[in-house]
């Protein structure tokens, strides 16, 4: 495996009584696409929140490169996050701004580019997710899948070195799924960007993933290349990949 750009070390997360992650460790290799799979409610989104410093773990450490982000001050976290893109599961577009304004916001705030340059970059990014015609629309005028793509565009518009995608292809049609998967792969190729992708869509995972990690009952139970995980002899992994009702996973 390549050097990890980010790392969860023995992390635990609880919400009240509910234990979501328990002694969970995960390495995210630099320049690769790591997919996280797992049951609904297993804590996949929680892992992304930890990696972005949006949530502090109850135990353990989260490292970005060699920095322990659990000990960072909020102002340092804010600075750190300018280098990380986050495409949220439910898009989380700012509903008081147009799609164009949403996507240009990080460029306006963190770069000294001219309005014209920003417009060109934003248009280009929107085109790459098939949304160029919605530049002037408000988020409330978009469909669920379109919102998702706009959120995707906002996350990658600054070409961050690490991008966290929370179910980027859930709820979008097969053609757009293809488009998004290609964009993730292209970013990796052109900029050596690292990606962590949560997905339930096994087909697109097989298409793009370098590594796959499976989260089950609070910990990573399988981790490796796509081939390794597919050939894993862990019955839980096999049941999940085959989507079968019979097996060790309690329904």
């Amino acid at each position: 495996m390549a050097e990890p750009i980010a790392r969860l070390d023995d992390v635990s997360v609880r919400f009240g009584e509910r234990v979501v992650l328990q002694n969970c460790s995960l390495e995210v290799p630099e320049g690769a696409i790591t997919c996280i799979i797992g049951l609904s409610g297993a804590g996949k989104s929680t892992i992304l929140r930890l990696l972005d410093g949006l949530l502090r773990p109850d135990g353990g450490h989260v490292y970005l490169r060699e920095n322990d982000i659990c000990h960072m001050r909020e102002s340092q976290l804010i600075e750190m996050r300018t280098k990380i893109g986050f495409a949220f599961q439910f898009a989380a577009l700012f509903d008081s701004m147009t799609v164009g304004e949403n996507v240009s916001l990080p460029l306006r705030e963190h770069t000294t580019l001219s309005e014209k340059e920003i417009y060109d970059i934003v248009m280009h990014t929107l085109e790459s997710v098939g949304l160029a015609h919605t530049y002037d629309n408000m988020p409330s005028e978009l469909s669920g899948g379109m919102l998702k793509r706009a959120g995707f565009a906002r996350a990658v518009v600054t070409n961050p070195e690490l991008v966290l995608y929370d179910e980027p292809t859930t709820g979008v049609d097969p053609i757009v799924t293809h488009l998004l998967t290609d964009t993730i792969k292209r970013l990796r190729k052109q900029l050596n960007a690292t990606a962590v992708v949560i997905s339930h869509d096994l087909q697109s995972i097989y298409m793009m993933a370098d590594y796959v990690a499976m989260l089950f009952e609070g910990a990573i139970i399988a981790n490796g290349t796509v081939e390794e995980v597919r050939k894993s002899n862990n019955p839980i992994v096999q049941q999940f990949l085959q989507g079968s009702e019979v097996g060790p996973i309690p329904l």
């Binding site: 909020e74 976290l77 996050r81 949220f88 989380a92 577009l93 916001l105 705030e109």
Partner: protein
């Protein structure tokens, strides 16, 4: 003696009393710790806000926009409440005052009360109903739809992005609204004093000018600035700590307004006590 004591301790009544008092203690303890948590969180938020302002990390366009939304859009209701309060105050006092033969003081009484108390406080309460609820609801719905997290994920601090513009806007606009409230309250009072008790405009204004000094106006405006801080900080804190979907947003907005209005009344008393006690 010890025997008696033990019997008392073991009696069902004593046990029941103990259970109840433990329950009461626990719930008082929870209340106190809730209040401490609220105060702590609010203090932290204010500290963040002050730091951001002193680093001059201010978004001017958004601040102007908030001046319009929070300030200008409250103008009509502030004017109406102040006008009618000045009028009713004059109505109650003018006729009586004339009967007892000190009609020439009415201008002083009305304007004194309006400038020192009613103007700042009514404006604040009215703006609290609008602005505090609006802030709590807007930030609250951003919180429950992950927009606050999205803001953070883009490397933008919610305090700089959302709280500071609203705070500066209201710190400018609420004193301005208070001046309008003062003026229209006094004029409303004067009009009723004239119409109902035949007190001349000249007399009314002369008495007003004699009683109310420039420093009374300034102290009133100082109150307005404090109220502006209370309104925006309570609204923002409630908004940013919202939990539990749309229902949570509603709860946040309601409790923001209630907390805010209670605080305005308490702080108004405290400030009056210290600002005017000498006078």
């Amino acid at each position: 003696m010890a025997q008696v004591l033990r019997e008392v301790e073991e009696s069902p009544t004593a046990q029941a009393v103990e259970r109840v008092s433990v329950g009461v203690l626990a719930s008082v303890g929870r209340k106190v710790s809730d209040i401490l948590e609220y105060a702590g969180g609010l203090t932290l938020l204010m500290w963040e806000t002050v730091k951001t302002i002193f680093r001059l990390r201010i978004r001017f366009a958004e601040t102007l926009n908030q001046c319009y939304l929070l300030g200008y859009q409250s103008l009509i209701i502030v004017l109406l409440t102040s006008l009618f309060t000045g009028m009713v105050f004059s109505l109650e006092s003018a006729v009586q005052a004339v009967q007892y033969g000190f009609g020439s003081f009415v201008g002083g009484i009305v304007s004194y009360t309006v400038v020192r108390e009613l103007g700042p406080m009514l404006s604040a309460v009215v703006v609290a109903g609008r602005a505090c609820a609006a802030i709590a609801a807007e930030l609250g719905s951003m919180e429950v739809t992950e927009q606050i997290e999205a803001l953070k994920s883009l490397g933008l601090a919610p305090v700089r992005f959302l709280v500071v513009p609203r705070l500066l806007a209201l710190m400018i606009m609420l004193p301005l609204l208070t001046i309008f409230a003062d003026v229209i309250g006094v004029y409303g009072g004067q009009w009723i004093a004239h119409a109902q008790a035949h007190i001349g405009t000249q007399d009314f204004m002369a008495s007003a000018r004699q009683t109310v000094g420039f420093e009374d106006v300034v102290k009133g405006l100082f109150k307005a600035i404090v109220f502006a801080i209370v309104i925006v900080m309570i609204g923002s804190y409630q908004g940013l700590t919202t939990k539990g979907g749309a229902a949570g947003v509603g709860k946040s907005a309601t409790s923001a307004v209630v907390t805010c209005i209670i605080l305005i009344f308490i702080l108004n008393f405290i400030m009056s006590y210290f600002l005017y006690a000498g006078a």
